[in-house]
């Protein structure tokens, strides 16, 4: 029979359990539990890792497909005169392209550019809302990556490596900094259009699966398996949870295995999440002007979905979620620079601006790093045929890795600042290159993390997000 002699809290266990129904019933157990959690978890609330952090949270808005730099944030008037001609061979020699050829003709940007805000950041006319927060942005025009395909490009942008299997930026961040809210996941993924490489893009790789991005889905059930079965009443669920806890306690008394104590705590957290998560996604407490600021009720389905995700991201950050990753669909403009790109931008412009304004008015922008960008840029050359069928298409641009533009806001970056320079064609970086590794190093730096010191030993090697590369770009830090 079971030996109950080492039961530390035998006497009042039953009463405690009954009375608290779901609260941690015993001090001994809860202290044991805390020990277990802290021993197994590098993450603790308010943890300072390597230096004082400027940013506490990240909201990363990824435009899936790769926005065109010369039609958004990197004006190239010289393309007007190159329009219809091939680029000089010295520019294209030795370069990889996905579908176009080095001889493909150049297409100018059909859009006008204007300086915006006090700072005069120049951006495309397609961003009327973002123009209102220009003074909060650092635009980086000199981004560079190694990959020209969506899957590997996304992996590179998020894991620093073009193949599957490495932990993502969000996973490294939560591995380093942990969570600020035990009732919610530390790293959340929201998407209206998925990354093509799937969950590998927000995977924990070889880190513990605790650091994996947890996907919140649109619709009634934001987290998989959150809702209790239809046939189970709330009372039955409560009693089932209490019985599970009690039998687990009995088992703990017997085995003394701390994993059982952790299991008890995780069931309690799961139970709390059944309330906290639906509360989080319920916008009924948000005033109308906030909903309007983001464009939540936009008539465009894409704009509304993205706006909801941005508002949800703010609510999450407010509740202590460390890292919110948002994916927005429809930025792979092989065709339709004239037709499709304006729609893609219109679907995000208002919500991006709304998010920044909302964070600012709540005093949260200083501690929240907002990032907007894609996995790569696009070619100055035109693509006019569908790569699969060969059918003629509306003019578009192909994948391009040599340069692309992103912007960042809040979280310790300068406001109203433009960094880096590309050549007259928008083909390559000529000044202040920010490679993806540098971008990661800089973001981690803002979070108080030295990218060279946040490592994990795996298969005999100390891995880090920036591999063996990466320099912090101090110039963009305020």
């Amino acid at each position: 029979m079971m030996n109950r002699n080492h039961n530390m809290n035998q006497i009042n266990r039953r009463d405690l359990l009954r009375r608290g129904t779901l609260g941690i019933g015993s001090l001994a157990l809860s202290s044991l539990l805390q020990k277990e959690l802290s021993a197994s978890d590098t993450a603790q609330k308010g943890r300072v890792l390597h230096h004082a952090a400027k940013a506490k949270n990240v909201i990363f808005l990824h435009m899936v497909g790769g926005p065109s730099q010369m039609d958004t944030f990197d004006p190239k008037p010289a393309l007007d005169k190159w329009d219809g001609r091939a680029l000089p061979v010295e520019v294209t020699r030795g370069q990889k392209f996905a579908f176009v050829t080095p001889q493909s003709r150049v297409i100018k940007s059909p859009y006008g550019f204007k300086p915006r805000g006090q700072s005069g950041i120049v951006m495309s006319e397609l961003f009327p809302h973002l123009a209102n927060v220009a003074d909060e942005l650092t635009v980086v025009r000199s981004m560079r990556t190694n990959e020209i395909n969506h899957g590997s490009g996304e992996l590179f942008m998020h894991t620093g490596h073009g193949r599957m299997g490495r932990p993502s930026f969000g996973a490294w961040t939560t591995y380093g900094l942990g969570t600020e809210n035990e009732n919610l996941p530390a790293y959340v993924v929201l998407k209206d259009g998925p990354p093509v490489a799937g969950p590998s893009v927000y995977s924990s790789g070889f880190l513990s699966s605790r650091y994996q991005g947890v996907e919140f889905r649109s619709g009634k059930q934001p987290i998989l398996y959150l809702d209790r079965p239809e046939k189970t009443s709330p009372q039955e669920r409560r009693d089932v949870m209490a019985a599970i806890k009690r039998l687990n306690h009995n088992a703990f008394d017997h085995y003394q295995d701390p994993e059982i104590a952790t299991r008890i705590a995780q069931y309690e957290l799961a139970y709390r999440m059944q309330t906290s998560v639906p509360d989080l996604v319920d916008f009924s407490s948000e005033p109308q002007h906030i909903l309007e600021q983001y464009g939540v009720n936009s008539r465009s389905a894409n704009a509304s979905a993205f706006a909801r995700n941005c508002l949800l991201a703010r609510r999450m950050v407010e509740k202590g979620v460390r890292f919110v990753q948002i994916f927005a669909r429809g930025w792979d403009h092989h065709a339709g620079i004239y037709t499709a790109l304006p729609k893609s931008i219109a679907a995000v412009d208002q919500a991006c601006a709304g998010l920044i304004q909302d964070l600012k008015q709540r005093g949260m922008l200083d501690e929240t790093l907002v990032i907007w960008g894609g996995e790569f840029g696009r070619t100055p050359m035109v693509q006019e045929h569908n790569a699969g069928t060969g059918a003629k298409t509306a003019p578009g641009r192909d994948h391009h890795k040599e340069c692309f533009s992103i912007w960042m806001a809040g979280g310790g970056v300068k406001g109203g600042f433009t960094y880096g320079k590309t050549d007259e064609f928008g083909f390559g970086v000529v000044e202040n290159e920010v490679h993806v590794h540098d971008f990661h190093a800089t973001c981690l730096h803002l979070l108080g993390i030295d990218h060279e010191r946040l490592t994990h030993r795996h298969q005999g090697r100390d891995y880090r997000l920036t591999d063996v590369h990466g320099h912090v770009v101090h110039d963009i830090i305020s």
């Binding site: 996905a98 998989l224 009690r246 701390p258 995780q266």
Partner: protein, 963 residues
């Protein structure tokens, strides 16, 4: 008592600073004292007491040097600073970094203990601790002896250690374990209660729980003999392979899809079934190795030996539109090298892609010598042209059948198809004769020529999709009249997309056509379409290709109407009664500038030609036979080497576009030499891996199996036996197991039996809190192994408990219920988006058969730490998360199991109490205590719901843990 007493610490602090000039004797005695005391200092918690007075280089010194110094003063020549190597004694001594016997003269000590940050080593990162410096000093004082890294030396059969309590051990292993437990001041625990022991055994050997009847019977006779009988029976179970395959499939990064963008499904399940079968057959591990790495190179390989080589065809493959074939191939081969190194050698070779290894003795050149073995493979991925959207697998495939009956039927079918095709060819010859003879006569013969390019305006009706020069030329096929048409593509044409030459015809009724045929001559190799349009987007196409050998010669293409299909880009199929354009298109094989296409004698044949009618009948028959054959045949990817040896070049900085020196096949020089008589291909490599002299393969393998049973390896870094890896906690036991494994003919089953027969394994896992606090990770194995089951077994075990489990072994992957729409969310318009949820027993198959889609894996399995199989995974995480709770509570799959379990309870006879006890024992095997029963009864009575009781039992920590 473990750990140093305060008095010991104090004495250490008072050791006087050593000076030169001591006599040898004095130095020696002092050294010993320093060493003993310093050794005690390292004891924390339950570190193992050291009895040796000397530092062990491999255990104590190498980790310090490797961790702090080798990065710049180690094997990597390119990164080496100051021309100093600390991994080579001779070099270190010559340099003066180490002066044996004279720590104070050794610049190593001076530099690591320097107070000046400018001269102190290491220049970055944490400095050495006082304890580490003390170790180095003591080691230098003792002569600074180097030893070959422990894992590079062959395991030797160790002497059985002495133990005081000889009654406890029941096997050789127990002596090693008990000796260590006793030295730490503990005693092992007693045997687990029979029900718990039996459940543990079942879960470990077959991954399924025992029935209540089996538990009862064992409780009645828990003798060692009866236990052994269970062990033997379970090892023979067909479910053994299903349980043990999962870990191997993690290593083999087996999955049912390609990964990356598109993430198409692939047929690799025959490989998965091969692994299950090989384990069930207890195929010796050396043979298991050889067949998977080189089955194709064995003399006259069987289909099964070919399927085994799927091991290395499992690599994820990036088929996105813009990826380049050489890049994809290089990534595949790098993965094969890394996986082979990890699985068999416990070595990380990946870092040598770009530079010499920083810690282990593997150079970049040696890496590419290893790579060269895999670079002999034939091309496996092809891009048929610059603009084509997706790549194809073109490597070797082998046909497989689900059963022997299917295999025989397939053989008959193949014979019939060949015979019918011969008849068809004869019949076509006849038809062709008729049509050409009478082609200029009336249309009653069944042939109608659309275009023969004769007459007044041979070029009438042609148009091209790209700018091209079109002329009538005198080069014609036999019976082609005077002229053919030739289109030469303009130099300005873009390379992308397609090139076409079309003929716009007055609307013609082709509804009775049986065949379209024409002659073509071109210098474009690869894919072509013959398109029949009735409107711009109403199209049927017939695909054909021009082989290299057919370039620049006339070829007749025969396109049976039955073989046309509707292309994905068409709006609908063509209306053959009003054909207004025929187009012949080269696609995906550009650039086309300057290339030509010549055409002649474009004609259709009608079906009322008697010879034609016969052909059609035969063609239909062939199609039927092929359909039947396809239904019982599947093909899976296997390895094949090219006949000619392929040159391999070192890649500078690991980049395939910057080749360096040429290298030949070879193995790392730090390990045993390659037997010259072995073939210089993968077969030779596989034999080298399982050679008697290999110090690693057997150790790495037994360690992994040990870890699967005990939850941690004797070497905790299962994937790294190199210098950065952990030292073995029980080095002698590891060697004993490794030697025994080989002596037992590499039998995995014997090894598992040896392990589960030990007293160590059979201990109870219910331990006093003090023991758990002092040895939380069970490093000493002073209690039974207790930990959460892996993802597949969480499912399998609860399916068995619920009574729903299907015991069908093997076959195609299955699609158990998952939340709606998950595959739609990830995919683009060209990707697989339909998740064909299984019906019938396939809903309740073991987890190992669940479709494994890399980019979109089965979510509940991921919640329990199953990997996405994108890379070789040696050890899964064992997390404990709220998503696991939500899965077991709310996932419809587990709700269905609980419902079925509740129905079982309902159906049982007896009182509610009897039912509760039986249900508890069905789920957990052991007897419940009174409080457990009361709690469940109360729940049942409050809600009148067996479902609630089932949910509780299936959500217990114990229900998803090995007890």
């Amino acid at each position: 008592m473990i750990g140093p007493s305060p008095a010991v610490v104090a004495r250490i602090n008072h050791i006087p600073k050593r000076k030169r000039g001591l006599t040898a004797g004095a130095r020696a005695s002092r050294t010993r004292r320093v060493v003993i005391c310093a050794a005690l200092l390292t004891l924390t918690n339950v570190a193992f007491p050291q009895t040796s007075a000397e530092y062990d280089f491999n255990r104590d010194i190498r980790p310090i040097l490797s961790g702090k110094c080798f990065k710049c003063h180690g094997p990597d020549a390119a990164a080496r600073e100051a021309d100093l190597r600390l991994d080579h004694r001779e070099n270190a001594v010559d340099f003066g970094a180490i002066v044996p016997g004279e720590p104070d003269e050794s610049s190593l000590i001076e530099r690591v203990s320097s107070g000046d940050p400018d001269t102190r080593m290491p220049p970055a990162g944490d400095r050495l601790s006082a304890e580490q410096i003390a170790k180095l000093k003591a080691w230098i004082e003792g002569g600074a002896k180097y030893e070959k890294h422990w894992s590079y030396q062959r395991p030797t059969p160790p002497v059985r250690p002495v133990v005081r309590d000889e009654s406890w051990p029941t096997s050789e292993i127990d002596f090693f374990i008990l000796n260590r437990i006793a030295r730490a001041g503990f005693t092992p625990l007693t045997q687990a209660e029979p029900a718990v022991l039996l459940r543990r055994l079942y879960l470990d050997v077959i991954g399924l729980p025992p029935s209540v009847d089996e538990v009862n019977a064992f409780e009645a006779d828990p003798s060692r003999k009866n236990y052994e009988a269970h062990v033997d029976r379970l090892l023979k179970s067909k479910h053994f392979g299903e349980k043990w395959a999962a870990g191997w499939l993690d290593l083999a990064r087996y999955a049912d899809s390609n990964g990356y963008q598109h993430d198409d499904l692939r047929t690799m399940w025959p490989y998965r079934d091969w692994v299950i079968q090989a384990l069930n057959d207890d195929m010796p591990f050396d043979q298991f190795t050889i067949e998977q790495l080189a089955g194709d190179l064995l003399p006259d390989p069987s289909p099964s030996q070919l399927v085994a080589t799927g091991f290395h065809r499992n690599v994820p493959t990036n088929f996105s539109g813009g990826s380049k074939v050489p890049e994809v191939r290089a990534n595949i081969l790098h993965d094969r090298v890394a996986t082979t190194g990890t699985v068999w050698l416990g070595m990380t070779l990946e870092c040598c892609q770009c530079h010499d290894h920083k810690f282990d003795s593997v150079s970049q050149r040696e890496y590419y010598q290893f790579y060269a073995y895999f670079n002999q493979a034939i091309p496996e991925v092809s891009q048929k042209g610059v603009g084509m959207f997706r790549k194809l697998f073109v490597g070797r495939e082998v046909d497989v059948h689900a059963s022997e009956a299917d295999r025989q039927r397939a053989e008959e079918l193949r014979d019939s198809i060949a015979a019918t095709e011969r008849q068809l060819e004869d019949s076509r010859q006849g038809a062709a004769l008729v049509s050409t003879e009478k082609k200029s006569a009336s249309k009653a013969d069944g042939s109608e020529v659309f275009a023969d390019f004769e007459g007044v305006n041979p070029l009438a009706g042609q148009s091209t999709t790209h700018k091209a020069k079109v002329t009538a030329v005198g080069d014609t096929p036999a019976d082609g009249g005077k002229f053919a048409i030739k289109a030469v593509v303009d130099a300005s044409a873009s390379a992308a997309g397609h090139y076409g030459i079309g003929f716009n015809l007055p609307i013609r009724d082709q509804s009775e056509a049986a065949e379209i045929r024409f002659w073509i001559k071109t210098d474009i190799e690869g894919s072509f379409n013959l398109q029949i349009h009735s409107d711009t987007k109403d199209v049927n196409v017939f695909r054909f290709s021009i082989a290299e050998s057919e370039l620049r010669t006339w070829k007749q293409v025969v396109a049976p109407v039955a073989s046309f299909s509707v292309p994905p880009w068409a709006r609908r199929k063509a209306d053959w009664s009003r054909v207004n354009m025929v187009r012949i298109t080269a696609f995906g094989n550009g650039p086309y500038a300057g290339r030509y296409v010549m055409l002649d004698q474009l004609a259709s044949l009608k079906s009322y030609d008697p010879a034609m009618a016969r052909s059609m009948k035969l063609a239909k028959r062939v199609k039927q036979l092929k359909t039947e054959l396809d239904a019982i045949t599947t093909s899976t990817m296997v390895m094949q080497d090219a006949e000619m040896s392929q040159a391999t070049h070192l890649m500078i900085r690991g980049d395939y576009t910057t080749p360096g020196d040429r290298v030949d096949v070879g193995v790392p020089g730090a390990l045993h030499p390659l037997d010259a008589s072995l073939p210089r291909n993968r077969l030779g490599l596989a034999k080298w891996l399982v050679a008697d002299e290999n110090p690693l393969t057997s150790r790495v393998t037994v360690n992994r199996i040990w870890a699967e049973v005990f939850g941690r390896g004797i070497v905790t870094t299962l994937d790294d036996f190199g210098r950065q890896g952990a030292a073995p906690s029980h080095p002698q036991l590891l060697d004993w197991l490794a030697v025994r494994f080989v002596e037992d003919g590499w039998s995995v089953k014997k090894l598992i039996k040896t392990i589960v027969m030990t007293s160590t394994y059979q201990q109870t896992s219910a331990a006093p809190a003090t023991l758990i606090q002092r040895d939380p990770e069970n490093k000493l194995y002073a209690r039974g192994p207790r930990f959460r089951l892996p993802a597949e077994l969480v499912r399998d075990n609860l399916l068995a408990v619920s009574g729903l489990l299907s015991d069908k072994v093997g076959g195609d992957m299955v699609y158990p219920v998952q939340p709606d729409g998950l595959w739609k969310e990830i995919s683009g318009p060209l990707d697989v988006s339909n998740y064909p949820t299984s019906v019938g027993e396939d809903r309740y198959r073991r987890g190992i058969y669940t479709v494994w889609r890399r980019g979109n894996p089965y979510p509940s399995m991921i919640n329990f730490d199953a990997p996405d199989r994108s890379t070789c995974t040696v050890q899964r995480d064992r997390s404990n998360t709220p998503s696991q709770a939500l899965t077991l509570l709310n996932d419809p799959v587990y709700v269905e199991m609980a419902t079925a379990f509740a129905r079982l309870m309902e159906s049982w006879s007896g009182s509610d109490r009897v039912k509760v006890v039986r249900a508890f024992r069905r789920a957990l095997a052991r007897h419940p205590n009174d409080d457990d029963v009361d709690t469940l009864l109360e729940l049942y009575h409050d809600h009148q719901s067996w479902f609630a009781v089932a949910q509780v039992l299936m959500n217990l920590d114990e229900a998803i843990s090995k007890p």
